[in-house]
Point group: C2
Chain length 312, copies 2
């Protein structure tokens, strides 16, 4: 139920972090690209094959120490349907290694259409009686601007199929405050209002750790708001971007956690994918460097929050 | 520039409407489905082939009388990467017939990632020096919850490549008011604030008709807000969902237009795709029925707004 499977893994691995897999072709070493271009040409198909090989190599190095990956849909869509195929194959490969997969798609729409997104990314599609998982991730990021009927279809899939969603509350980017920080007449900010809505949407979808299937995205780049929302949305599990390349540190991310060291998972994307650069290695060492960085990040976070106390 | 190409077609065809192509497998006649399942089995590939054949048949019937299509990404993603391939092929086919294509994806993210979405849906992807259009639509719907740096990368592509975006302002669904209608401390509603941001984002991207490349989604199901926003966002071109199946009529949609009958395009999805039901025809007549409904809808809208006065 809810994020229980993810939290189980976080406790077992003592690692509340997720590796963002947002692979630009620029990040992929020449040896992989050359092989793919030789086979498929400098085409979307060739690019997609390179991304998939890159992702698999990183997953192979980290699956035993990192509980989850977060592929960002935009970087796959950039390479056409061929890239989207690589997304589907990345999801399946990570799951085959026991990882929890959060598709970062920030999807949103009216009710009937949101049903289609829920089916696409978390559920199963009916094809004349045959039931097929189109993408089959474990969780999806969504945007709650359309209100309850843009969220309910997801909540139903979460309840029926043991999945979760993360609703954008306070995003990590510089201009996030333009709308999100504005004060409403009722005295709360837009992001706080969104957090309240998350608590409401999740009320019937509670998991064994006290967190519901309706999580929230709250950026590490705004540590005060992160602390505020941790207190005000006590049943909402946080996906926290902004650590590393975007400027957030472990002390910032610390505010996302409860007193047991639970309640959040911290993402790093470029920090993991491009770790070889900081480690003075060559691009061919990207996967091993990703593991080294994943372990360093784990220690960095654990040093600030202490041991994750729940036992499974 | 901006929506000039679209408005040129609207004036030439005297038709300010767009056909939403959100093809569920249930909408596709048995003859098409059976042929596709025979060839590919009851698989995502078979379903995607059926959707594409359905779309092409509708496009063939309407391209000379309707200026644009709006495929809804969710209904393609529901059928996996195979469905997303059908989306790409639908876009290319409609453009080959001279239609303007609005991909309804409601994408949103932080700046660096939004660049990837802009590249994916409107721009061209660089593959080791080769420039390839991944999806290559003419416009994209987006969600502005993340503020300026989630919009600027799109504005750049719009300026460089003659494309447009539609930002969600006041959506057509029943719960849209939960956040969007809340009043801010500055006395305006959240949707009005978003409309103001659209006017700002579009200021440097003005087209020859006085509308910028940054449009807005405002639902026909809220005619008062539609009239309000037409007045308050005079340079923002509106994409108006909610006509037909969602309950909005021509008198509601009328509020989206300026005194010249410009400024908006009205969408119908299920009304067009499932027109044979209302016309007492069989499902095999879906394409001809779609044309009949498209022409009826055009007359319905034109009867309320009068002739579109601009001449090209």
């Amino acid at each position: 139920m809810a994020f229980d499977r993810l939290i189980d893994s976080i406790i077992r691995m003592q690692n509340p972090t997720v590796a963002g897999l947002d692979p630009k072709l620029d990040y992929v070493p020449a040896s992989i690209k050359d092989a793919c271009f030789e086979k498929y040409g400098k085409t979307l198909e060739g690019a997609a094959a390179a991304l998939l090989a890159f992702n698999k190599a990183i997953i192979d190095e980290i699956y035993d120490v990192v509980p989850a990956i977060k592929p960002q849909a935009a970087y796959y869509e950039m390479y056409g349907w061929q890239g989207v195929k690589a997304l589907a194959e990345t999801i399946a490969y990570a799951q085959s290694k026991g990882m929890f997969v959060i598709t970062d798609g920030k999807r949103n729409d009216i009710g009937t259409t949101m049903e289609a997104y829920a089916t696409a990314h978390l559920g199963t599609t009916d094809i004349a009686g045959e039931s097929v998982a189109a993408f089959g991730a474990d969780a999806l990021t969504v945007n709650g601007y359309l209100g309850t009927d843009g969220i309910k279809p997801l909540a139903q899939v979460c309840a029926a199929q043991d999945k979760g969603i993360f609703v954008l509350v306070k995003t990590s980017n510089p201009s996030s405050g333009e709308l999100q920080d504005m004060k409403l007449e009722n005295g709360v900010t837009v992001y706080e209002q969104m957090g309240r809505m998350c608590e409401g949407w999740g009320a019937d979808l509670m998991g064994k750790y006290g967190y519901s299937a309706v999580g929230a995205v709250v950026g590490a780049t705004y540590p005060e708001q992160l602390a505020e929302m941790r207190e005000k949305a006590p049943h909402t599990f946080f996906l926290v971007p902004g650590y590393g390349a975007q400027g957030g540190g472990a002390q910032d991310a610390k505010n996302a956690f409860d007193k047991n060291g639970l309640g959040a998972i911290i993402n790093s994307s470029r920090g993991i994918m491009c770790a070889w650069k900081k480690q003075g290695l060559t691009e061919e060492d990207f996967a091993q460097a990703a593991r080294t960085e994943a372990l360093r990040m784990k220690e960095d976070i654990l040093n600030t929050i202490g041991e994750i106390k729940y036992k499974v």
